[in-house]
Symmetry: D2
Subunit: 355 residues, 4 copies
């Protein structure tokens, strides 16, 4: 259980390493053939070893946690940023320009500063960086990611939702103005912070909708749907209701869509098969097979299924991901691989864990 290291490896840091996305980035990068973890920041855990903060990662020779202000930026080629929104933009703005940034926070996802301010409770303070940021939904923005210095990884819900909807919207197969997205997530999506609703006894043996039609991921989804539909963001509104499911990991979106004239569920499937042919992490299930979060746990995979609806003119698209991998740290590493010209799948090849 000792970490191997060679001087030629890319030196990576994780900002906000004490959160679940930080831990997941550690887990995955520990096995990345071309990356060495040289910096872990966690302000409230500064001075602690990884073993103290995350006992499952003890024994791998990872560096101790330091505070952001004590970080040595010369020790890193790239940082994965898992800080709270707001904080993120401030810190990223101070980094040397030679350091590439894969941001897992929400700070650079929304292109319109007004929308950001409306949903995140304050003005954006790094608008220049914001313009430079590339939206890191890898399958749809691969070329831009390759050339980016700053990548804003999508939220977990937008990742699954947009993989399921953007090709259809772009191809004009579904109505972008009648999208009902019923979303379900495991509890890890809420982070490691102490909140009553994520206690075992509160979240266990129960199902809880939350942020009903008022979740921050809605405007993010709308931004991208509008872009791929050729509409103004303000003209697209989606129905988005997330539910907290008593499981640690996993995310599933059930998208109830209205088909365009004379289009069928089979047309949607064909579009997906063409669009995602050769994608290393997206799997379009054969007709009748139903996506489950159990199919992707611990992996960077996304599975998609398409179904006819009972209501004429409607169809269903269901997608499942692991919210901590494809929905966060895994996609971040996928983007980093592109940014550094590595094999896109490096460090992400583990198969799903089941049961």
């Amino acid at each position: 259980m000792t970490a191997t290291a060679t001087s030629k490896k890319i030196k990576a840091g994780i900002l906000g390493a004490s959160g679940y996305t930080g831990a997941e980035a550690m887990r995955l990068l520990l096995r990345h053939p071309s990356v060495e973890l040289t910096l872990l920041t966690a302000d409230r855990k500064a001075g602690q070893s990884v073993e103290e903060v995350y006992p499952h990662l003890g024994g791998y020779g990872l560096p101790d946690m330091v505070s952001v202000e004590d970080a040595d930026w010369n020790s890193v080629d790239v940082v994965f940023c898992g800080l709270p929104h707001g904080t993120t933009q401030e810190i990223i703005a101070t980094l040397p320009k030679t350091v590439k940034v894969v941001d897992m926070s929400a700070d650079f996802r929304l292109r319109d500063p007004k929308t950001y301010a409306e949903w995140y409770g304050g003005e954006h303070t790094a608008l220049d960086l914001q313009k430079e940021a590339v939206y890191g939904l890898t399958e749809l923005y691969r070329d831009q990611v390759r050339d980016a210095r700053l990548v804003a990884c999508p939220g977990c819900y937008p990742t699954a939702t947009l993989i399921a909807l953007l090709p259809l919207v772009e191809a004009g197969l579904v109505d972008p103005l009648d999208l009902v997205i019923d979303a379900k997530s495991g509890v890890s999506g809420a982070g490691r912070g102490l909140k009553q609703n994520t206690l075992f006894c509160e979240a266990g043996e129960g199902l809880s909708p939350y942020a009903v039609a008022s979740h921050r991921h809605a405007p993010e989804i709308e931004q991208e749907v509008a872009k791929f539909a050729g509409l103004a963001a303000a003209d697209v509104r989606v129905n988005f209701v997330p539910h907290l499911v008593p499981m640690s990991r996993g995310e599933l979106v059930t998208c109830h869509v209205r088909l365009s004239e004379r289009k069928t569920a089979a047309d949607l499937r064909s579009e997906f098969e063409n669009r995602y042919q050769g994608e290393p992490f997206v799997r379009v299930l054969s007709a009748g097979a139903i996506p489950q979060t159990q199919m992707v746990r611990g992996s960077n995979n996304c599975v998609i299924g398409v179904f006819e609806d009972r209501i004429p003119g409607r169809a269903l698209v269901i997608a499942a991901i692991d919210n901590l991998v494809k929905g966060s740290s895994g996609q971040a590493i996928q983007n980093m691989n592109l940014m550094f010209g590595l094999e896109e799948t490096a460090g992400l090849e583990q198969a799903p864990l089941f049961p």
Copy 2:
């Protein structure tokens, strides 16, 4: 832990007592002040004690399981029927007419024999009984239930869905032809039979849609929506997608509805408040409060919430029940109480169990 019994009590039997709905009926009836359990049938468990089949119910002095053919129908005033569909109609047809029947199976829910045959794989063999059966959604069919000899309790999903939708449909507040019902259930809804997908390791730590847009509860919902909308059943089609959630009990439906002209979410709430005023088991939550299955576990309660949608002209109605209580055995007892002129809440007064 001894059962009390007086000669004046109503004598009740449970047919199919070895299933989860049977066990739940036992649990509730053990504390019913006016009912005595005198007959339990379970063909494959015939001869076994309740303790052998359900250890948690040992010590309460319940009768042993017998086979249906050995049942003494003179020993009962009412039977709760938790048998598989198909079997149910055969057995109920043979009962003395003096025995009232509260059917928890699917056999008498669908009024149109063709629809039954289409969805349940065979012709209905007790059409006379079927005509006599009252659909036992208590809050909407209370008067008919009072006078019924045979009550067909709704399916678990229809119970929650129809409590949430029928008043709105009847009042013309929502479009009955654009109902998107995203449903979630705990695993007990699948019964105690041995199936791979309900093993702990398969259903745990994961979320699985199933019977996507092809679940038998869809035509049942359509039948009632059509009736309350004044439409022909064949003209109503709903989008209905159920999901298996890693919890034992609980059911929640997220209904995405299209509002009628100039109607708002507030109008829906008002309608509910009027309609369900004084209902002992339906609670309309105040604005902002979100139904969770945790609010109703082990109780006969149903909680409802209404929410504005982001898409103009749409709204959300969310309802939660315990699938084994209000979704099955509890509602059955509620109906039995009406059929025998008892207090409607008798035996159903326990508060929810949380955590």
Copy 3:
């Protein structure tokens, strides 16, 4: 869902009503035929309705939460005290002597003030009350409880452990100096406070021993074992290791005991059958049947099984309870019933909830 109340009812208060034991006391007392809840205190939730603090208990007409200092002690005949230790003794000391007290905290369990100070981090400040307190393990202290004004309900682990061991120790059937108690509890035992280890993602899908051989319930068990063995408390030391299990409720103790000379597992069973004959809440399982927490969930029951060991001269005693009921609020109500001359089982008759 309205609470019924008559002027003749015993007026009860719950101090610390915002915790899980408080909520459980509310759930049970709502259905108690002779008790009316007239006071709920919760300092940090003062001014809130029950529905805000515990949505599952909304709609039952319970009083709002008040702070302890605003409590009207004249409004109560009895208080159930679910406050943190330390706080408890201070507040109880100020109560009018006419108010009976059923304490669910740890403050009055240990008879030796030195032991209390050693394990609970401070001197006891109400030693007079402490002398008066009766240890409320109902089955073993029934007569004393009847006459008590202040009952100190045992800890959850001691409840299950002592029901399983005291009759054997008293009868000289097992060696009181070689008791290995391997204990397991659901997460609700840790309370509703925010702690990292009780988050869903931390406690779920995993098993965690804690307070290994250093849990505060060990000296409590030792006190009682010593008393029933006729030994000094200081001379008895038990091996006690608790484990956190990913379930909300339930507690099971696996007691590995050394038999006295020529005694057998069958002798232990006989002792139990004699001792617990007629007990309303203790069920000695027949040979071969194994206690599970699933048998008692939501009920005040305790199930016990006795087993031969493979090591000659040793045996096993396993007991299961619901930690929030028999392990806390249920036993508290059982004691209250005795203190007021009520039927011992009043309000506690609900059968276990399974699944």
Copy 4:
């Protein structure tokens, strides 16, 4: 998601690939740099694709399932055998001697045929092979494993228990005749077969002891304890009680041991630190740190902790593993690596998955 294959790779087959251990072997071997999966047998699933049997492993280019009788033994250099006991010995006896065998069943674990017959319900039919088999507890039998053709991997409980106890027994630090092993396992240990007690609703939200002091792993533990203590197997009896925990993966043993004269818990820790120094998969936790199954999920790691007991002269040793990895398929691959002269850690380097 395509499997890579080169002609130089070791060709491996999995017999009984439709069980959980088979699936886990697939998951791990998919990422093994020197192994290619060329044969998967599953009699009842013969003809099915991996995707049909295990949807999470679809898309990796694995071969379809075949029946054992249709297996081409020339296509494999090694087989992992996850068949039911009894069946295993028959099939292994028919394999070409050039094929190495890593057996994950119970068939070759017990050296004494009488003990096998007593516990597994029938005479052993491959006694020659049985003599040749090496007990595959890697850390304690590494040299023998290297030279073996047939390795009998230990049961999951014996793996954790013996890693925790054998060094202490061998060094004379604990009494081999007073070992109390309180064991806990996730549900996957019971396999994918359909059994009532492993249904979600039966195993969830509950804790169930099973096979109390009568589990087949007890004689296996006794065999090894006796061997390392220099005693006859018949003279050693251990107390072994397993419990089913509501989690899919993970196993933890709490070993209550009696110290030898003048020995302390610190002596046990020193012994472990010496003994397991440099072991790639065994981690001795620092004083005070408590093993949890959450520390090892999905990994081949074993964590051990040592604790003082309250009873003088006793101590506690706690060990945790993932029952499907170190407790089964992971250890099998570890052994295969040794048998083929590969790096012992090949294919087993993934870090634990948490949360």
